[in-house]
């Protein structure tokens, strides 16, 4: 759907069957076929234990955090960028949510705070990517100095004033002397990968935060039991992931903004020539996409009941893997939200299935690796060497 407008370099046979239905199939037929095959494999080998309804619910539940984050990441990757720091963003969000709840703020406020954290991170990353390094420096420097001065005798007012002065000075210096210098998102988020974890630890003073009252935010990842039947409806988190995906599909398919993301990913220069405000669009892409990361962070918090600065380590690569298994190209210009969700499911199914089979951790790691490579390999094989390199 998001790919309605996307185009394939048609291999010779494919062109004749260019009808919409087939077209959609070719786009995420691959990943879905993969998912079915892998599921079937475990259903046969692991048996009842694996095919249980409750196990299916578990699989979906465990996909939710990576899945929601990957929905956002799909847009970033379509636009030709990458986010290596999404794991750290998720960890940071669990910390701010926990911190807010711990201070006694309402769950609603904590929820909003979580999404806001994601947006702020996204805005920062976006600003750096489009070259507003000075602006970011001014903001961070101002806040730091302000907080520091505030903690001394000078108090809050002193802090506020000095923070603003530094902010203004840096901005002014920046405007006068510094040209805008765009930096590749790989580098920006490579830096953020460590830095955001640092910030997360700083929020909790090097410790996890365990808020006592978590309200409904704490229940987002719990199934909703139907009476005493023993059955439960999927947790709210599952719906959140689904709604996120639907929203993203709509944005990518039907809005200018979404089409701009594709255009920028396909050829930034052309987008610029065509009057697309690429810098502004990129800023919004990162802000919006990592807002989904904030949402994922809230869900991770609900999953852990804990604000944990070390959580979600390595999720960055899982998220990218999900998007890529789902059919996106790291060179930008193509990708599919539904494919991404399928990609995320594939990874959970492998982890779950391996455990059900009683395989050791290391076997699971090897199998997951092999699946990532084969999934993309197969996809490529179907498409010809399109994504090569």
């Amino acid at each position: 759907m998001s790919d309605d407008m996307k185009v394939l370099e048609l291999s010779e046979e494919e062109q004749s069957v260019r009808d919409k239905f087939i077209y959609m199939l070719t786009h995420w037929f691959g990943p879905i076929l993969g998912l079915i095959a892998i599921w079937a494999f475990f259903a046969i080998t692991a048996g009842k234990d694996f095919v249980d309804l409750s196990n299916q619910q578990l699989i979906v539940l465990q996909t939710v955090v990576v899945g929601t984050a990957a929905v956002g990441a799909t847009m970033i990757i379509i636009s030709g960028g990458i986010d290596l720091s999404i794991g750290a963003s998720i960890a940071l969000t669990t910390m701010t949510v926990a911190w807010l709840l711990d201070k006694g703020y309402s769950p609603a406020l904590a929820f909003v705070g979580g999404i806001f954290t994601g947006m702020l991170v996204g805005f920062t990353i976006g600003s750096l990517v489009i070259g507003h390094i000075g602006r970011v420096g001014a903001t961070v420097g101002g806040i730091m100095l302000g907080l520091w001065i505030a903690s001394t005798d000078a108090g809050w007012l002193g802090g506020l004033i000095s923070g603003f002065i530094l902010f203004g000075a840096v901005i002014a210096f920046n405007e006068i002397y510094i040209k805008r210098v765009p930096i590749s998102s790989f580098i920006v988020t490579l830096g953020m990968w460590g830095a955001l974890r640092g910030v997360a630890k700083w929020v909790g003073n090097n410790e996890p935060i365990y808020p006592e009252n978590r309200g409904w935010v704490g229940d987002l990842m719990a199934g909703v039991p139907i009476g005493d039947s023993g059955f439960a409806l999927p947790a709210p988190g599952v719906w959140i992931m689904i709604i996120s995906a639907v929203i993203m599909v709509l944005i990518l398919t039907f809005t200018k903004f979404g089409r701009y993301a594709f255009a920028i990913g396909s050829n930034e220069k052309t987008a610029l020539l065509c009057g697309i405000n690429i810098r502004g669009t990129q800023l919004w892409i990162y802000t919006l996409a990592i807002a989904f990361g904030g949402l994922a962070g809230i869900l991770q918090f609900a999953f852990l009941s804990t604000g944990d600065p070390t959580t979600a380590d390595g999720y960055e690569l899982q998220v990218i893997a999900a998007v890529v298994i789902g059919g996106a190209s790291l060179l930008g210009g193509e990708g599919s939200v539904l494919g991404t969700i399928v990609g995320a499911l594939i990874m959970t199914v492998v982890a779950n299935g391996c455990t059900k089979l009683g395989l050791e951790n290391y076997v699971q790691q090897i199998v997951t690796g092999a699946i990532i490579v084969s999934a993309v390999g197969l996809e490529q094989w179907r498409h010809g060497a399109k994504y090569a390199r």
Partner: protein
């Protein structure tokens, strides 16, 4: 021989042998103000280490010495801990190092090297595969095998006899918890009728990873009657998983360490008992031993800090509260 106190002389002699005459002259310090210690935890991710830090800081205050605190991020990062140790090892203003080695073998050489550089080392929490008075000064820790045995016995008590149990391990290579897991398994193996459903699953370094591991094992957990986890992240992770599937309070569960959510779980009846250590005291004693040694005083080769079994009933008693600092 572990518990034998070494006399002033024998200690010095042994240190001399290793340190090629570097150690003794330098180690005798008379002025407390000059003393600065480096304290290196296994990781910086758990509440547990902040208790150790609090104890160490208190000791520094009481004794009038200074300290710096720095550790690797994760408790599996051997190279990271060695790097930090080396950095302090070359610092002129560091006089001694208190460390919780995250691997008993990998840290041996770097610790020996630190000694050669004139920095004696006191161990806390976890062991080193070396000799006290030769490779390091002294070791302050829980008797972890015992702690594990205690956990097993508590679990058997609550289950009301032999039954099916699940062990959720912590991390590959972490000696302290491995010892606890061993203690636990020893008792269970020697109790006829016990059926150990799972004993080979390492949960992971954070509670989130453990929760996922536990959920993936949920069939075994449903089948079991009792569960044991050796420390903070593993216990929290198991508790979260039990809550997720609404089994909390329905399974017997003995965990380890005194993090906030575990204490809450204990009060709610989701956890039967916690085997807690005294990290605050480890930190305190570690620093104190180091300072005494630097003054040339005799120090014991090993101090066992005590463990306690915390239950709903005794959780508020002052004696138990001591363990939560």
């Amino acid at each position: 021989s572990d518990r034998v106190d070494l006399s002033d002389d024998s200690m010095k002699v042994q240190m001399k042998l290793v340190g090629k005459n570097v150690v003794p002259e330098k180690t005798i310090i008379t002025d407390n103000k000059k003393i600065k210690l480096a304290v290196i935890p296994k990781g910086t991710t758990h509440k547990y280490w902040n208790s150790v830090k609090a104890g160490a800081e208190q000791a520094c205050k009481d004794l009038g010495v200074e300290m710096v605190w720095k550790g690797p991020l994760k408790e599996s990062d051997r190279a990271g801990q060695i790097v930090i140790l080396q950095q302090f090892g070359t610092s002129d203003d560091i006089d001694g190092i208190v460390i919780a080695p995250l691997d008993e073998n990998a840290l041996l050489r770097p610790i020996q090297h630190a000694l050669r550089m004139g920095k004696p080392v006191v161990l806390v929490d976890s062991p080193l595969n070396g000799k006290p008075g030769v490779d390091y000064v002294s070791h302050v820790a829980t008797d972890n095998v015992k702690a594990g045995e205690l956990g097993a016995k508590e679990l058997l008590k609550y289950m009301g006899g032999p039954n099916k149990v699940v062990l959720m391990r912590y991390l590959e290579g972490s000696q302290s918890t491995l010892a606890r897991e061993k203690g636990f398994l020893d008792v269970m193996h020697n109790t006829p009728g016990v059926d150990i459903l799972v004993d080979n699953r390492y949960g992971g370094a954070t509670s989130g990873e453990v929760k996922i591991s536990a959920l993936n094992l949920i069939d075994k957990i449903k089948e079991a009657d009792g569960i044991y986890a050796p420390n903070e992240p593993s216990s929290i992770g198991v508790m979260l998983a039990l809550e997720q599937v609404r089994l909390a309070g329905k399974k017997h569960f003995v965990g380890g360490d005194a993090a906030l959510p575990l204490l809450r779980g204990l009060r709610k009846g989701e956890i039967d008992a916690l085997i807690v250590q005294n990290p605050y005291k480890m930190g305190y004693e570690g620093v104190k031993l180091m300072v005494e040694f630097l003054h040339g005083k005799p120090v014991p080769a090993k101090i066992n800090t005590e463990v306690a079994v915390v239950t709903k009933e005794n959780i508020d008693s002052p004696k138990i509260q001591e363990f939560f600092k």
